[in-house]
C-alpha cells in the first residue's frame, strides 16, 4: 500500500481526497500547511506527495524547494488553471507533474498511479542487470542510478524516466509525445511545456560532449535526441 502525503490548506477538500484515495487503496495522510508538509515529506515514509502551490504562510513553491533540497520524492503539484508561471517554476524546481486545481478525484488518482508506476517500475524489468551506456553516460535502471564520467547524478524520478527513454533510443530522435507517454505515463496535452522544462533541467545536470555541445539535442519538429558518439 503506497503512502500518499496530501499538502493543502483547504481542509474540507483534502478530507474528501483522503477519503477517495483510501477507497482506492492508498494510505493517505493530510497536512494543512507548507511547513509541516515539508517536514512530513522529508521523513521518507511516503511514496508520493501531492502539493497545493497556492497556500498561505509557507507558499507551495517554497515547500517544494525545501522538499527537493533533501529528497527525490515524487511530487505532484496542484496548480490553478491558467497560472502558467507557477506551473513552470514548479516543474523547474523539480516537481514531477501537475494537475490543475478544480480536478476530479479520478484524474488525481490516475496521475498518482502513473507517477508511482514509473517510479517503482524498474526492478522487474526484463532488460537484465547490464548497465546502459551512451558515451560518458552510464545508467542502471534497476538501481535507478545514473552517472556521468563516473560521477553520480541526482535526478528526480521524472527526469530519470525521461532520460531512460532517451538512452534506450540513443542516436535517434524521440518525439515529445512519445516521451510523455513513456516517461510521464500520459499523452501530451496541448501547449504542454512539461517535457521541455524537464529536459532543460536534465540538460543542465548532464555534462557536455567533447565539442562543447550538450549531449541532449532538440531536433526541430521531431523532439529530442541523445547524441551517440
Amino acid at each position: 500500500m503506497s503512502k500518499v502525503l496530501l499538502i493543502d490548506d483547504d481542509v474540507e477538500l483534502v478530507g474528501m481526497f483522503q477519503e477517495y484515495l483510501t477507497q482506492e487503496g492508498f494510505d493517505a495522510r493530510a497536512v494543512h500547511d507548507g511547513e509541516s508538509g515539508a517536514a512530513e515529506a522529508l521523513t521518507g515514509l511516503y511514496a508520493i506527495a501531492i502539493l497545493d502551490v497556492m497556500m498561505p504562510r509557507m507558499n507551495g513553491l517554497e515547500t517544494l524547494r525545501r522538499i527537493r533540497a533533501g529528497s527525490n520524492l515524487p511530487i505532484l503539484m496542484l496548480t490553478a488553471r491558467g497560472d502558467d508561471t507557477d506551473r513552470i517554476v514548479g516543474l523547474e524546481l523539480g516537481a514531477d507533474d501537475y494537475v490543475t486545481k478544480p480536478c476530479t478525484p479520478r484524474e488525481l488518482t490516475a496521475r498518482i498511479r502513473a507517477i508511482l508506476r514509473r517510479a517503482q517500475a524498474a526492478p522487474h524489468d526484463a532488460s537484465g542487470l547490464a548497465p546502459l551506456t551512451v558515451g560518458q553516460l552510464t545508467m542502471w535502471p534497476e538501481q535507478r542510478r545514473v552517472s556521468w564520467a563516473g560521477a553520480h547524478l541526482e535526478l528526480t524520478s521524472t527526469e530519470f524516466n525521461l532520460l531512460e527513454v532517451l538512452v534506450r533510443h540513443a542516436g535517434k530522435p524521440v518525439s515529445k509525445n512519445q516521451l510523455s507517454e513513456l516517461g510521464l505515463g500520459r499523452p501530451m496535452a496541448r501547449f504542454d511545456r512539461n517535457i521541455d522544462v524537464h529536459l532543460s533541467s536534465l540538460r543542465r545536470k548532464l555534462g557536455s560532449l567533447a565539442d562543447g555541445r550538450s549531449c541532449l539535442q532538440t531536433v526541430y519538429r521531431l523532439g529530442y535526441q541523445l547524441i551517440k558518439e
Binding site: 477538500l13 504562510r57 486545481k101 480536478c103 479520478r106
Partner: protein
C-alpha cells in the same frame, strides 16, 4: 514637424512680418513727410550761402543768360531764379509755398552778411529772386554738394571775367571726382536688402524656435496619449519639469491620470484573479464530492449534502460580489430613510448570539439603551449588512468560549459602533488592508466559510453613508473595528 508646428510657425512668422512692415512703414511714411516738409524749406547752410553768392555774382556780371548757363552746368544745388511774375529761369515749377517763404525770408534777411535769399538784378536789367530749396541740397551728400559748388564757382569764374567758352574745363567734372566721391548709386539696393534679409532670417529663426518650443510638448503629449491607448500607462512627464508652464502642468496631470488608471486597472485585475481563485475552491470541493459520490454510491446522501453546501457557497460568493460591485459603481441612496441604529444593532447581535452559542461564544452589547433615539439616514438593509459583516468577522476570529464586545457610543455629530474581539488580530501593517476584497491575514487558516468580502462590503456601505471605518489592535490581543456614522440631528 507636425501640422501644429507649421501652423505655429506660419502664425508667428506672419505676426513678425506684419509687425516689421507696420513699424517700417510708419517710419518710412514719417520720414517721407519730414522730407517733404524739408523740401519746401529754403536752405540756409553755408554751402547754400556760397552758391547763392556765386549765382547773384554771375547774374550781376553776365545777366540772365550767364545765370542760365551757370545753372545748367550745376549738377546739384541748382539755385532757383524766379522773376517777378513767378517764372523760373530754367522753366522749373516753383511751389507757391516755397516762393512765399523765400519772399518772407528776403524781408528778414536784409542787412545780413550772407543772405540765403537774394533779390539780384542782372546786367541786362532783369531782376531775379535767388534761393536754394532744401530738396536740392538733400538730393546728395553734403560733401558732394560742397564740391559741386566749388566746381561751379571755379567754372563760372573765368566765364564771368571774360568771354569765350572753355568747354574742356567746364563740360566735364574733374576726373578724380568719381573716385573721391560718394559710393556709386548702384550699391544702394544691396545695402537696403542686407538689413531686410537679416530681419527676415531672424524672424524665420525665431518663428521656428517658438513654434518648436510650443509644438514639442504637445507632440510629446500626443505620443503619451497614443501609448496610453495602447495600454502603456507608465509615467513619462516627470523628467521635464524645468519649463514650469501650463504645458508642464498638463503633462503632470496626464501622469496623475495614468497613475490613477493604472491603480484602478491593477486592482480590477487583482480582483478578477481573486474572484476566479475564490470560485475555484468551492468548485474543487464540488468536483471532489461528485467523485466521492461516483466512488461510493452507498454514501450518495452525504455527498449530495456536500454538493448542495458547495453550490450554496458559490451562490453566496457571487451574491456578495454583485453587492460589492454595485456599491463600487455607486448605486444606492435610492431610498434613504431614518434608521434607528440601536434597534438595528440589537437585532443583529441577537441573531449572532444564537449562532455563536454553538461555540460557547458570548456577545456583549453595551450602550444601546443610551442610543435609543439616535438615527442615521440611509438604507437599513445595507447598514445592517455592514454591521453584521463586522460582527461575524469578529465571531469568526474569536477563540471558542470567548466574548465579542459591541459598543455603541456617541461623539459630537457621530455615532460610533465598535466591535472588539480577542482573536489573533492582524499584523499592524495589514490593518488598512483588511478592508480590501479577498484580503486574508497570513495568520488565518484557510477556513471554508467567508470569502474575504465581508469587511470590504462593510467599508463601501459605511463610506456610502458618509461614515468612516477603521481597525486597530487591542491591547491584550485582538482586533477592534470601529465604525463612525454621521448621526441625524433630531429635528
Amino acid at each position: 514637424m507636425g501640422r501644429l508646428f507649421w501652423k505655429f510657425f506660419l502664425c508667428i512668422m506672419l505676426a513678425q512680418v506684419t509687425a516689421t512692415i507696420g513699424i517700417g512703414g510708419t517710419f518710412w511714411l514719417k520720414n517721407r513727410a519730414a522730407q517733404q516738409e524739408r523740401a519746401l524749406d529754403i536752405d540756409t547752410s553755408p554751402p547754400a550761402q556760397m552758391i547763392i553768392e556765386a549765382a547773384s555774382a554771375t547774374l550781376e556780371a553776365g545777366g540772365s543768360q550767364a545765370l542760365r548757363q551757370f545753372l545748367s552746368k550745376l549738377e546739384r544745388m541748382r539755385v532757383f531764379a524766379v522773376d517777378a511774375k513767378g517764372q523760373e529761369l530754367m522753366g522749373r515749377t516753383v511751389h507757391a509755398t516755397m516762393l512765399a517763404k523765400a519772399r518772407a525770408m528776403l524781408g528778414q534777411g536784409e542787412g545780413q552778411a550772407h543772405p540765403v535769399v537774394r533779390d539780384a538784378a542782372g546786367s541786362d536789367g532783369k531782376r531775379y529772386l535767388l534761393f536754394l530749396p532744401s530738396s536740392e541740397r538733400f538730393r546728395n551728400a553734403e560733401a558732394g554738394a560742397a564740391r559741386d559748388t566749388l566746381n561751379a564757382v571755379a567754372m563760372s569764374g573765368p566765364r564771368a571775367m571774360g568771354p569765350g567758352p572753355q568747354p574742356h574745363e567746364a563740360g566735364a567734372p574733374p576726373r578724380g571726382e568719381f573716385s573721391r566721391g560718394p559710393p556709386p548709386r548702384m550699391d544702394t539696393p544691396y545695402r537696403t536688402f542686407i538689413p531686410l534679409g537679416a530681419a527676415i532670417a531672424a524672424s524665420l529663426l525665431f518663428s521656428f524656435l517658438l513654434a518648436w518650443y510650443f509644438a514639442r510638448p504637445i507632440r510629446d503629449l500626443r505620443q503619451a496619449f497614443e501609448a496610453a491607448s495602447q495600454g502603456n500607462l507608465a509615467p513619462r512627464f516627470q523628467a521635464n519639469g524645468k519649463r514650469g508652464d501650463e504645458l508642464t502642468d498638463l503633462g503632470r496631470d496626464f501622469d496623475r491620470m495614468t497613475g490613477r488608471l493604472r491603480n484602478l486597472m491593477d486592482s480590477q485585475t487583482r480582483l478578477l484573479h481573486d474572484v476566479s481563485h475564490e470560485l475555484r475552491s468551492p468548485l474543487a470541493r464540488l468536483q471532489a464530492a461528485i467523485g466521492l459520490a461516483h466512488q461510493q454510491p452507498e454514501k450518495m446522501a452525504a455527498s449530495m449534502q456536500r454538493i448542495e453546501r458547495e453550490s450554496e457557497r458559490m451562490d453566496k460568493l457571487i451574491g456578495e460580489l454583485l453587492t460589492l460591485s454595485r456599491l463600487e459603481a455607486g448605486a444606492g441612496h435610492t431610498h434613504s430613510e431614518d434608521v434607528g441604529i440601536a434597534d438595528l444593532v440589537h437585532d443583529i447581535v441577537d441573531d449572532a448570539r444564537y449562532e455563536a452559542r454553538a461555540r460557547q461564544l458570548d456577545i456583549a452589547l453595551a450602550g444601546d439603551a443610551a442610543m435609543a433615539d439616535a438615527s442615521v439616514t440611509g438604507q437599513p438593509e445595507l447598514l445592517a449588512r455592514a454591521v453584521e459583516n463586522v460582527v461575524r468577522n469578529a465571531i469568526k476570529h474569536s477563540p471558542d468560549g470567548g466574548t465579542v464586545e459591541v459598543d455603541l457610543s456617541r461623539q459630537t455629530g457621530w455615532l460610533r459602533i465598535a466591535v472588539l474581539d480577542r482573536g489573533p488580530g492582524v499584523a499592524s501593517a495589514d490593518l488598512a488592508r483588511i478592508f480590501e476584497p479577498f484580503f486574508r491575514a497570513s495568520n488565518t487558516q484557510h477556513s471554508t466559510d467567508g470569502h474575504g468580502l465581508g469587511l470590504a462590503i462593510a467599508q463601501h456601505v459605511i463610506s456610502a453613508h458618509g461614515g468612516r471605518i477603521g481597525a486597530s489592535l487591542r491591547s491584550g490581543g485582538g482586533l477592534c473595528v470601529e465604525m463612525l456614522l454621521p448621526v441625524k440631528t433630531p429635528s
